[in-house]
């Protein structure tokens, strides 16, 4: 181990300042009282008040939340199935095509995914609205879920599943009682990832939403195209706060779960010895 040098300290300080200062400035200026966003004119929470009185934003937030909950939940189920098929499914017809379709959406430019789904929805005469956004989000986020879950499945001791099968479990019970509890942390982080991807998405939602359903990112984008706005600063601050609290809580909970599991395992080893 080499000693921590001045160079490293500078690189880290500047690097993290670069990563966090823009968001910090945004948060500070969301409490600015004036209409002119770049000139500080006293502390105020008035833009938060404006935000909560703005029906259009509240509607969009509600649509976004519904889309995110539905799409991330369906994506988690489908993505976990896909991961299980890829890692445990053995050979089947069209396996290469299947794994290709899992990985391709991860590198596909959003504009192409959005365009192609829109053309499909128009082709089959499906009216654009919440349903079409949910279908679109589910499709790309299930691929992310499946990557997260399959990386956990790869490292997982297969003999545990085999033991369950030997002891008389049906394959479904073995999955439900043995596999699922073990991969649960990966499934949960897959769900969180799918959820945030859906909350964030602007491009695919723009293509697949109709006039009846506008999501928050679409609303934000059309508002900021013309320039910085104090209401959007307030909204951004709220979103940043929600994500930060969510991610930090999730990581603390999973850390505690790991520690507890290690303790349980040690206790079990001691009990056997």
């Amino acid at each position: 181990m080499r000693r921590f040098s001045w160079f490293n300290a500078t690189a880290l300080t500047l690097g993290f300042a670069f990563l966090y200062l823009p968001m910090l400035i945004l948060i500070i200026y969301s409490f600015n009282g004036g209409r002119l966003v770049t000139v500080w004119s006293g502390f105020s929470t008035k833009w938060y008040g404006e935000l909560f009185r703005n029906e259009a934003f509240l509607d969009a937030a509600w649509v976004t939340l519904k889309v995110a909950v539905f799409s991330s939940t369906i994506a988690t189920v489908l993505g976990t199935m896909a991961a299980y098929v890829l890692i445990r499914g053995g050979r089947f017809l069209g396996r290469t095509l299947f794994s290709g379709m899992i990985y391709a959406p991860l590198v596909m430019p959003e504009v192409i995914t959005g365009l192609s789904l829109l053309l499909l929805f128009i082709g089959i005469g499906l009216d654009r609205g919440i349903l079409t956004i949910v279908l679109a989000h589910t499709t790309f986020s299930m691929c992310y879920v499946s990557v997260v879950v399959s990386s956990r499945l790869v490292t997982f001791d297969r003999s545990l599943e085999e033991a369950a099968l030997d002891l008389g479990c049906t394959p479904f019970d073995a999955f439900r009682l043995v596999t699922l509890p073990i991969i649960a942390p990966a499934v949960i982080s897959g769900w969180l990832l799918a959820f945030t991807l859906s909350l964030d998405d602007l491009v695919i939602a723009s293509f697949t939403s109709g006039p009846s359903a506008t999501t928050l990112p679409i609303k934000i984008f059309s508002a900021v195209r013309l320039g910085v706005s104090p209401e959007i600063n307030a909204l951004s601050t709220l979103l940043i706060a929600i994500v930060a609290v969510g991610v930090i809580t999730a990581s603390l909970v999973s850390k505690r779960a790991i520690i507890r599991r290690q303790r349980d395992e040690q206790a079990a080893i001691k009990a056997v010895a």
Partner: protein, 297 residues
């Protein structure tokens, strides 16, 4: 029976909502533009059987692709997307490498926190992170206020709505993708190799170039592709931070579709964009494969 169902459900989902839509894009890119809704012909009429299929094939042509080559806008947009992607990938590497290096050399107790700090922005809305730079870079923005206040410049700089702003935006938003793979390779590196190099007479700098950089090569390559590939089709950054002279293909496709309503041309733009992306994607996969094999040994 259950096994077949577990395979079939995600399989058909992806077929219906990923592969089929893409085939539709391919088909429309070969169709003619029409002033109608939907604004293109022809459609495959399966009820007419074989004759319908032949009529469908006969109506296909490469007209939209030839159109792309005749209008400067498109190939300029492809070239400038590639150029912006190359430059910003390089800049992201320059900014990201020292950070990854500092993290890998930091005290072991600190590393999980540092890692968390790199990942946290990734969970924050992309749109908001891009937007946060608009207030900083604008004519009367915070950066200009600071520089004028310090007396560094007398006139505010024009940064927002130029390519410089696009570069800053890309480096900022894609930085975690560069840092994480490089950090992963540097963290695994055996520090005694550097001591050996120095014992054998290397200076610190040459030990860095001759030992550290080659050992982190796979992380550098992975990071560069992870930045380069999504940047080419980027839409949000050029449309919020770039100006009217910033040409990027993602933005061109968007405008072709939403403003000009020329679906066949938009589809042809998409097909070519994908063809351009195939090469870096294959190279990236190969790099990953090689790394996995190296780890397996």
């Amino acid at each position: 029976m259950r096994r077949a169902l577990v395979i079939a459900v995600p399989y058909f989902w992806l077929l219906a909502l990923f592969l089929v839509p893409f085939l539709i894009v391919l088909k429309i890119s070969l169709s003619d533009t029409e002033l109608a809704i939907p604004p293109y012909t022809p459609t495959l009429d399966l009820s007419e059987g074989w004759a319908g299929f032949r009529a469908f094939l006969a109506a296909l042509d490469l007209e939209n692709f030839t159109f792309l080559t005749t209008d400067d806008l498109y190939w300029k947009a492809y070239l400038s997307s590639l150029q912006i992607a190359v430059v910003s990938t390089f800049l992201t590497l320059l900014v990201g490498y020292p950070i990854a290096y500092g993290m890998a050399r930091a005290d072991e107790a600190w590393r999980p926190t540092l890692l968390m700090l790199v990942i946290l922005p990734f969970w924050t809305s992309f749109l908001i992170r891009v937007y946060s730079w608009m207030g900083i870079l604008s004519q009367e923005g915070y950066l200009n206020q600071l520089l004028v206040g310090l007396g560094v410049i007398s006139e505010p700089l024009t940064i927002l709505n130029t390519n410089t702003a696009v570069y800053i935006g890309i480096v900022y938003t894609y930085l975690p993708f560069m840092i994480l793979p490089i950090y992963a390779t540097l963290e695994r590196m055996d520090a005694s190799l550097l001591e050996a190099a120095e014992d054998l007479g290397c200076s610190r700098l040459s030990a860095f170039w001759l030992v550290t950089v080659p050992l982190s090569k796979s992380g550098i390559i992975a990071g560069c592709f992870l930045v380069f590939i999504p940047t080419i089709g980027e839409f949000v950054i050029p449309s919020l931070l770039g100006g009217s002279q910033t040409l990027m293909i993602g933005k061109v496709l968007w405008e072709e579709f939403f403003s000009n309503r020329d679906w066949p041309v938009a589809s042809a733009v998409a097909v070519i964009l994908l063809l351009i992306l195939v090469i870096p994607i294959i190279l990236f996969q190969r790099n990953e494969q090689r790394q996995r094999e190296a780890e397996g040994k």
